[in-house]
Symmetry: C2
Subunit: 208 residues, 2 copies
């Protein structure tokens, strides 16, 4: 059976931006602060290193009862027993990821427009990450999605919608009337001097 997911505050890791010395510390601090979902994202490491890190991070997320999602690599998601995989438009197609993961695992998809959102839903995505909703330095080339487009996507699909890209304490309130299910953040947590407090603050703003 598929795990029940709270998309409110979705942490995406980034070792190049993090304040902590290790991914494990970064994830733990964010979990202490209340993040409800964790995505492990590693773009420049070997499969073995990603797999071993995944096993270590899975122990941490398990201890907090929070699902772990692996970015891009469905094989590593399955091998470490993660709750699911997240694919972008340059990764395995959603349909292929779904076939590999089976019906009980979570498959999330990054989308930039209504057409990609509808396709992801059609191909069996459990949720979509829509963005960039604000200007972001994490992905320089990310095209911006307007609040109006975000509302249109939210109305057009039945699956949960998470906004990503430039979400922080200042911008988060602007998303609250869009009907989305949560926000995904990278630097607004991992780059902060106190990651736990940053997560707490974002969650407080989200729930207010």
């Amino acid at each position: 059976m598929k795990v029940n997911v709270d998309y409110s505050l979705y942490l995406c890791t980034d070792r190049t931006l993090m304040t902590s010395a290790t991914i494990e510390e970064s994830v733990k601090a964010a979990l202490e602060g209340g993040v409800t979902l964790v995505q492990l994202r590693e773009k420049n490491c070997s499969g073995r290193a990603f797999y071993e890190l995944g096993l270590r991070v899975k122990k941490i997320t398990d201890a907090y009862g929070v699902p772990l999602i692996i970015n891009d690599r469905a094989d590593i998601a399955l091998a470490v027993g993660a709750a699911g995989v997240h694919v972008g438009q340059s990764d395995l197609p959603c349909k292929a990821a779904r076939a590999l993961m089976g019906k009980d695992k979570i498959v999330g998809v990054s989308v930039r427009c209504l057409q990609e959102a509808l396709q992801a839903e059609r191909e069996g995505a459990d949720y979509i990450g829509v963005g960039a909703v604000f200007a972001t330095r994490t992905k320089d080339d990310a095209a911006q999605v307007t609040a109006e487009e975000l509302r249109g996507i939210r109305k057009a699909v039945r699956i949960p919608v998470v906004a990503i890209g430039g979400v922080n304490r200042q911008t988060l309130p602007l998303l609250k009337d869009t009907g989305i299910d949560g926000v995904a953040v990278v630097s607004a947590i991992v780059s902060q001097p106190d990651e736990k407090r940053a997560a707490e603050e974002l969650l407080r703003i989200w729930k207010a």
Copy 2:
């Protein structure tokens, strides 16, 4: 049921070294020349590009009745319906790859010494690629395996053994009394002006 594999002449692709304009042309020429197994190796491309290339190359290898092995990514191997996956010591552990691929798919492992060879066999590898058996520019950092070590590995394991690293027309004859099941080559085929003829020549020397 597991596909029957002839390890005699195992092509590993490399787009950075190939003479052909595309991987598809490179693989097709090598198949025309008689390679008995093909490994698609892509180190710097997106998952989507690797997946789509895998689908295209699979059509070509299927047309020649030759099994296709995908390097490193078990998810892509499964998604494109390849015959198996090949993992190095920096990729998913053999045991994890085997669990993902199931018993009917091929799992190959790169090993550099007797200990790694025995471990790969214990963890369910169908074959091992041992190397580098000669000096090679394809992998600058590859430690060299002596002919004596290669013979020792061949005697110690029951699974097929393929030698890799610096195998070409000049060096191939030196491997013929080691009892191995085949040779894997990169530049000795893909970097040659006539890839088909290079494959034919290697196969002729191997079978002589």
